[in-house]
Symmetry: C2
Subunit: 691 residues, 2 copies
């Protein structure tokens, strides 16, 4: 029975990837528009390809080195570590390394597909929107779904295949570590890239020279548009991919740790949830439609809700028919509903229909400092609903599961995380739509399309922003539940080696670990943001140089050297990754080997707490400032050109690296830290200085 | 022997207060200057008196209500709670309530003395500096020492008297709770007051009307100058007072919890350290001198280092002659040196001699957004040295003490906190100097003194800023060690009732507690900062109204209605305290009574972790922006009026509520939360919903 489910999972994964490919070819067949539009789109496509080539070269190098380390370390029989005689089993090492590489490749392929379709879809969406709003929406949304479907499909294929072959969830952990490491580098690198280009383009273009946004005379305009795809499509996809896989693995590990005859059944259950989620998303995507005068934002929200309801119905049938304990149903539903509730309450803090954005816009008339203080304060307050949601989901799923007498409480937490993430296919589709329409708008501007077309593209764009804010709240909360489950899995892995793990806050080593862990997300954020300003300064020099040395650029007679800006941003972003990558992988290992597994447990806990808080703060404050600016640009408090507008532009620029560079990488950072700790837990348990 | 030491403590406390009074009268005898200067100083003095009157009325009300609750609750024999029959012992309740009131009164008196001398000293320092720099420095520094000496004296008197009478450190906990509750309200209220006035005065005065800072035509100028005293003198004093008392009580409780014949000896030891610290400060203060062309900053630093060395020597003699275990010596020295090291490394991030401030100033030429991003990022990085210092101090003092076999590890942590804070007399003196010279500069400006005098006052002022930054790093780190010791004391109090406290991060209730605790400091910060902007908006309206309705004000022929601005700021600040006060006192009790003592333990842990991180971030980022602005005003990157300067002003304004409102209240917030939890622990242990 288990085997059947695994094969069903693999088949469903291939169906999902197949549909993604079919949609991809449908998108490519759409009208690519006038020669001018195609030329502009071509610049972006080439820039994206050039960045991806560099990125994947770096990633391949990192992956190979880490795989080599893993292959060696896991060639020892870890259960014998510390006993004096250790057998060597190279096949274990190779299996783990292969799983790691497999995870990295799946993540990379999903990101690559998402990017490729996005840079094809942007111009086609712009052309389609010049026909009707609805057509433009369809091209953009279906293109976004390529990423969503490819991602969940590849993840389910990967996890099912590995478990089918090895029967050992710890090997799936290797797959997850591969996916997350790649996600972290792609996300952080992409985040630095996109904001380097964005800030530099704005500061020289809009502020110094006074040309509009997305003006083709700006040498950084292509890098800026490439950045939207790099950071928001590939990065966000990799981010959710990594939570999706990690939550499933955590639940599998916790299922395997339960005693009793049903252990295997519950180990595979998370994979079955993912499989059902694929079908729910495949169906839900068909229901995302905009009527003649419909609102794109409402259509996206309807699709999300519909998918969730469908998924819930499927799970009810599965649990009742499959003879699972009812508590897993509750855990799934709690996770799912918490995800939705948190997503929508996040909107309160980032949508211009509510007080936080409006108030921030209003006070902007008193200057940028007040904009910053107010937005930052609301960003801090925006932590509340998500944290309370996470706490409730954790407690309810734990105690319901514990009370069942069948499954463990921590398994329940794991299942609630999987329940939240199972509909990721739909969530990512709605999210990837955002950067595509943003780019479509940019291309419409650069290709000199009608004013009316640009206005329609604006409507599509603003719907994308709301979907994006919801996804961010959703992805951070899901990541929090995921790392809590992974954290429990870490304890399981340690105790499977016969050690007891004491992570009481009364132990000074644990408190030391928590403090060190708690400062890691802020440090990571700082490094990423300083990389952005440093990179932006380099690019500002380059833009000024081009304007100075070739006056024809500003006159509009000479095409600027877009490629140099693309390269500059790429090089800056990729070299900036060294320190953050060390923090993510090296710092937990250092803590573990020096201060021991208890302190490492505290460290992981500390990083989770501040990681979640800073991620929420940065994502929401950034979204709030962005929308406060747009609210003013919509005519409020003096509109474009007013003092309030100038102040809101400062807020928006501060928010850029908050919401697009530092904030979204933090989920992945904490996931990678827990994963690397769990993977190396057997070795740390055997060798450490303290205790 | 114990009794003798307690009496020595009381006598030493009176000596300290006596010296403070003597210095006070010396300051008052100094030349108060021309009639104009006296008039200006009179406005500030009256404004301060008016604010203090309102503040203390509110505080008295809060204290009476809380004392009433305490008197009732502690009239039950807490050891019998939950056993079915509970004796009533009203004298216990009255004793505890009296200790609480005593703590509140001591804290209030110290703050009042500090404020009173500060508003007398500012004008006298301005007059003295018109003679020589040295004379101005002496008046300001000695005035500052009134606060420092009064504070440590009153604290030692209070704690010694209570312990002499009751012999029970849990009653001293009541004293500490009184001091901390008052400190929190004084600190948060003062922080909101000072920045409300500051921001409103700047935005209308400097930006809208274009009159210089500290111009007497500005109706908010007096409120602004009063604010410096309210927030920085009384607030900072209350803050350190509260850590000073809390660390001593925590160490006493942990000493009393140790078994063995020496328990009493080690219970009193923290008080003896405080007594020695008084003498070290009294002597150290005499050595703070500025030569003819000496630097005030160097003089302050020399005084601090000298006091620390002297104190260390005294402790060595005490430990060797008194037959204490050597481990307490090490713990004291570790705490002391960590305090100094953290203080000075903080300077790296906030002084204009190092990269962070210079780099932030440099990038300011690209606009305010980059100033904010860069400063905020360095603020995040500034967490590192302090956290590492705290971790090292915690681990070393714990393991050295644990290894001694004589004292417990947590007692060692408590002693390291006391060691850090024992020299508070000197630290507070150096710190209170800052706002006095800041005000002296303001008075010099308002009273129309010579340009040369103002320049000299500037020199005094900039030394004050460095001292202030060091004190902040010091006070936050000391508070962190204090709350860690208090946290251990909380566990002791719970377990004294025969319960076991399980605060493992593997318990979902504890994790829930940590998450909820971790979000409390950010929420508190947000509420305080939103109060500032809200208050500032109200005051901006008032200033505009005065300018509009009485044109004589701007012409300089009519004196504006300073008092209305003072009242507005005071009312705004005091009504804003309701929600933060509930968070501090009510939220931990709610968690405790609903989720139980384990979750409350997690809650306290979580609040400590993010409390320390946010306090460091906000204090240091704020200090950094302030000095980046001053660095540019000193002529760098275009100087006053340049684009870089405008951007740096935005950074400075954002930093104002960071460093002077939210940041410094966070220490006190977490102290109050741990204290209220420890005090009510016996009741929570008996009554709670969960577990």
């Amino acid at each position: 029975m288990t085997q059947t489910w695994l094969i069903v999972g693999i088949v469903s994964g291939f169906i999902s990837v197949g549909v993604a490919l079919a949609i991809y070819f449908w998108v490519v067949r759409q009208d690519p528009g006038s020669e001018r539009a195609r030329q502009v789109a071509g610049w972006i496509r080439d820039g994206a390809a050039s960045y991806l080539k560099r990125l994947y070269t770096v990633l391949a190098l990192v992956a190979v080195v880490l795989a080599f380390v893993i292959a060696i370390v896991f060639s020892f029989n870890l259960n014998q570590l510390g006993t004096g005689s250790v057998d060597i089993a190279p096949s274990n090492g190779l299996t783990m390394a292969a799983a790691f590489i497999f995870g990295a490749v799946c993540s990379a392929v999903a990101g690559y597909m998402g990017m490729t379709v996005a840079v094809q879809a942007n111009v086609r969406s712009a052309v389609a929107v010049s026909d009707t709003l609805n057509k433009g929406f369809r091209v953009a949304f279906y293109a976004g779904s390529v990423m969503g479907l490819a991602m969940v499909g590849l993840a389910v294929i990967g996890m099912s295949v590995i478990f089918l072959i090895t029967g050992n969830p710890e090997v799936v952990l290797g797959f997850s570590f591969g996916a997350s490491t790649l996600a972290l580098l792609a996300k952080a690198g992409g985040g630095i890239y996109t904001k380097t280009a964005d800030i530099a383009a704005d500061l020289v273009g809009k502020v110094e020279v006074g040309i509009p946004e997305d003006d083709p005379r700006n040498p950084a305009v292509v890098a800026d548009n490439v950045g939207d795809n790099v950071g928001d499509v590939a990065g966000m996809g990799a981010d959710i991919f990594d939570s999706y896989v990690a939550s499933t693995v955590a639940a599998m590990l916790l299922g395997a740790a339960m005693a009793g005859p049903d252990s295997l059944k519950y180990t595979v259950f998370p994979l079955i949830l993912c499989t059902l989620g694929i079908y729910a998303s495949l169906i839900g995507i068909q229901f995302v439609r905009v009527g003649k005068n419909g609102k794109p934002g409402a259509a996206l929200n309807f699709g999300t809700i519909f998918t969730c309801v469908l998924f819930a119905a499927m799970v009810i049938v599965l649990v009742l028919a499959g003879g699972y304990d009812l508590s897993v149903l509750w855990s799934t539903l709690i996770g799912l509903s918490t995800g939705v509730v948190i997503g929508f309450t996040t909107e309160f803090f980032t949508s211009d229909e509510y007080k936080p954005v409006q108030e921030t816009a209003r006070v902007s008339s008193s200057g940028a400092a007040i904009t910053i203080i107010t937005g930052f304060s609301y960003g801090l307050l925006s932590i509340i609903p998500s944290v309370i949601g996470i706490v409730i989901a954790t407690l309810v799923s734990y105690f319901i599961s514990e009370a069942s007498g069948v499954i463990s409480g921590v398994y329940g937490i794991g299942i609630s995380a999987v329940g939240m993430l199972a509909v990721s296919g739909m969530i990512v589709s709605a999210d990837a739509y955002g950067p595509i329409v943003d780019n479509a708008r940019g291309i419409a501007e650069m290709a000199g399309m009608d004013h009316e077309v640009i206005e329609r593209a604006d409507v599509l764009d603003s719907a994308g922003n709301t979907a994006k804010a919801i996804t961010k709240g959703f992805s951070i909360s899901a990541a929090a539940l995921t790392v809590l489950a992974l954290f429990a899995a870490y304890a399981t892995v340690i105790e499977a080696r016969g050690l007891t793990l004491n992570i009481s806050l009364r132990s000074p080593l644990v408190v030391a670990g928590v403090f060190l862990g708690a400062m890691t997300p802020p440090i990571f954020s700082a490094l990423a943001m300083l990389s952005v300003t440093k990179g932006a300064f380099g690019m500002i020099e380059e833009i000024r140089r081009q304007f100075r040395e070739e006056p024809g650029i500003l006159a509009g007679t000479v095409i600027p050297d877009y490629n140099r800006c693309v390269s500059l941003a790429a090089d800056g972003a990729l070299t900036s990754l060294i320190l953050p990558a060390f923090l993510a992988v090296g710092f937990p290992l250092l803590i573990g080997f020096v201060l021991g597994p208890d302190a490492l447990g505290g460290f992981l806990g500390g990083s989770i707490f501040t990681g979640v808080i800073f991620a929420l703060l940065m994502a929401n404050a950034g979204g709030l400032w962005d929308n406060a600016k747009k609210f003013i640009e919509g005519g409020a408090f003096g509109g474009v050109g007013s003092d309030a507008h100038k102040a809101s532009v400062v807020g928006d620029t501060v928010g850029d690296p908050f919401k697009d560079t530092a904030g979204p990488s933090l989920n992945t950072l904490i996931t990678v830290m827990v994963l690397v700790s769990s993977l190396f837990a057997p070795i740390i348990a055997a060798f450490h200085l303290f205790l």
